[in-house]
Amino acid sequence: MRTAHELTVENDGIADTMILTRSVSRAEVVREICAHLEPYQVGEKPITGETVIAKDLTIDSLAIMDMVMELEDRFDVSIPMSVIAEIHTVDQLADTIGDLRARA
């Protein structure tokens, strides 16, 4: 929860400058996704690349789409809804963001 809170504060402060135009490491993308998912963690089970977002966590489909919107703005990519529907794990989401950034 603390991480999510810090993120909000951070975003409020610098707004648009938060969009990352420099190159981003995959680890950074995964870290960001995990920070968004932390509030939905079940018990002590850690969130990893293999975590199935809709199944292993308590997040509902609408909240997933809202999280994706936040990630889109953070990494300056747009992920079409049909692509979101095919994403199941944290790794797949990180790869999608990486691919879209590489193509931009």
């Binding site: 509902d60 489909s61 609408l62 909240a63 789409m65 809202d66 919107m69 889109e72 703005d73 300056d76 990519v77 747009s78 992920i79 079409p80 809804m81 049909s82 931009a104």
Partner: protein, 407 residues
């Protein structure tokens, strides 16, 4: 795996809801007495959740028009608009709605849902881009499932979020279609339409706006948010419904596009369903005349909005962000919302209850919608009842208990 296993989570939630004794999704109006009163569970109940903004469901002139049409042309058309279901009256209604907006073309659909579903999924096709507000109505989301276009959501009522997504498309080929709503149905907030239109112009995007909840309510002539913000000419497609202010059922889409009529042979929800029955077409035509002739209904509606919104606000309720014909009352969670809703029904007041996943951001709401013919006494009474229940449920601070605790 059983057919219903995938709904296990929803079934659990639904069971929870029903433990309260009433099922809010299967409420029966035993007898509707007027736009604002019905018998529910054997008692006379005040209706404050019917989207009946002008109260025209019982307007004598609309009722007479419908009855006359049944006598003249029967109960139904038994066919689609592209077969035997286009009567002179359907065409006349389309002409009248087009004139109402000052647009060249209009298509009438059998429901508002079908208007959005068909028009949006057909306008944006393979290679195009559909950009929708995150809080869009289910009919818009369902259109997105049917289209071959790439669909991207932007943050609710946030023109800069739309702009970022249009910018990212860069010079990719393909049309950009942006879908907005005049007034959003859950919290009653309206879109910053002018700012949205400016962004769309900058990136050459088409604008489609759904005025379902704003027809009649907004604008000098009741055309909706596109009129009150002065951007009718910049809205390429305006969609709306007959099932709210106009008191019947049906949907429409108007446009100035010279090739608009091609939609009549491409939009499947128009082609493959029976057209509106003559009685509905007749009552809608009359209701549109009433909307034009009686602007005082709009003023009455907004007076009532102010009474309810300001009354609840003053008591400490958390509401939607602005005055609107829909007043959404935030409650802390789903079960509190269901319990509150049931207590209101026991007190003789019906509103809608809206809980996740049907609501944005997982909020739980009592969704109240105002009617021009509610009286101030009815609404003052409602504020009083809701304040009492709010204290019982701990949603509002209980002043007396606090005083006792302090001693």
């Amino acid at each position: 795996m059983g057919l219903f296993d995938r709904h296990a989570g929803l079934l659990d939630a639904y069971r929870d809801v029903r433990t309260t004794g009433y099922d809010p999704f299967q409420i029966r109006m035993e007898r509707v007495l007027s736009p604002t009163k019905a018998i529910i569970n054997g008692r006379e109940t005040l209706l404050v959740g019917t989207n009946n903004y002008f109260g025209l469901t019982f307007d004598p002139s609309c009722m007479e028009a419908a009855i006359e049409a049944i006598r003249a042309e029967g109960t139904g058309t038994t066919g689609s608009r592209i077969a035997n279901g286009s009567y002179s009256e359907h065409v006349a209604l389309e002409k009248e709605i087009a004139e109402f907006y000052g647009k060249k073309h209009c298509m009438v659909f059998t429901t508002g849902y079908q208007a959005n579903l068909g028009v949006i999924s057909t306008l944006a096709g393979q290679g195009d881009f559909l950009l929708i507000d995150a809080d869009s109505h289910a009919s818009i989301y369902d259109a997105c499932k049917m289209t071959q276009a790439e669909v991207v959501r932007f943050k609710h009522n946030d023109p800069s979020s739309l702009e970022a997504r249009l910018r990212r498309l860069g010079d990719k080929p393909g049309n950009r279609v942006v879908v907005l709503e005049g007034i959003y149905s859950m919290l009653g907030d309206s879109a910053p339409l002018r700012a949205f239109v400016d962004v769309c112009k900058k990136y050459g995007a088409y604008v489609l706006i759904d005025e379902a909840h704003s027809l009649g309510a907004l604008g000098e002539h009741g055309r909706g948010l596109c009129e009150s913000t002065g951007v009718i000419d910049d809205c390429h497609f305006i969609v709306g419904t007959f099932s709210k202010t106009l008191g019947a059922i049906g949907g429409y889409c108007v446009s100035d596009d010279p090739d608009f009529d091609i939609l009549r042979v491409t939009v499947r929800s128009y082609m493959f369903t029976a057209s509106l029955p003559p009685s509905i077409v007749a009552s809608v035509r009359q209701a549109l005349r009433v909307v034009k002739a009686r602007p005082e209904l709009r003023r009455q509606l907004w007076d009532n909005v102010a009474t309810l919104y300001d009354g609840l606000k003053a008591q400490g309720f958390t509401l939607g962000p602005e005055h609107g014909p829909v007043v959404g009352v935030h409650l802390p969670d789903r079960m509190t919302a269901i319990g509150f809703w049931r207590a209101m029904l026991d007190a003789g007041i019906y509103v809608n209850v809206a809980v996740p996943p049907a609501t944005p951001n997982g909020v739980s709401l009592l969704r109240c919608s105002l009617c021009a013919v509610h009286t101030k006494e009815q609404l003052d009474h409602m504020v009083e009842v809701m304040t009492g229940i709010g204290r019982q449920f701990g949603v509002l601070p209980d002043k007396q208990l606090r005083a006792a605790g302090a001693r």
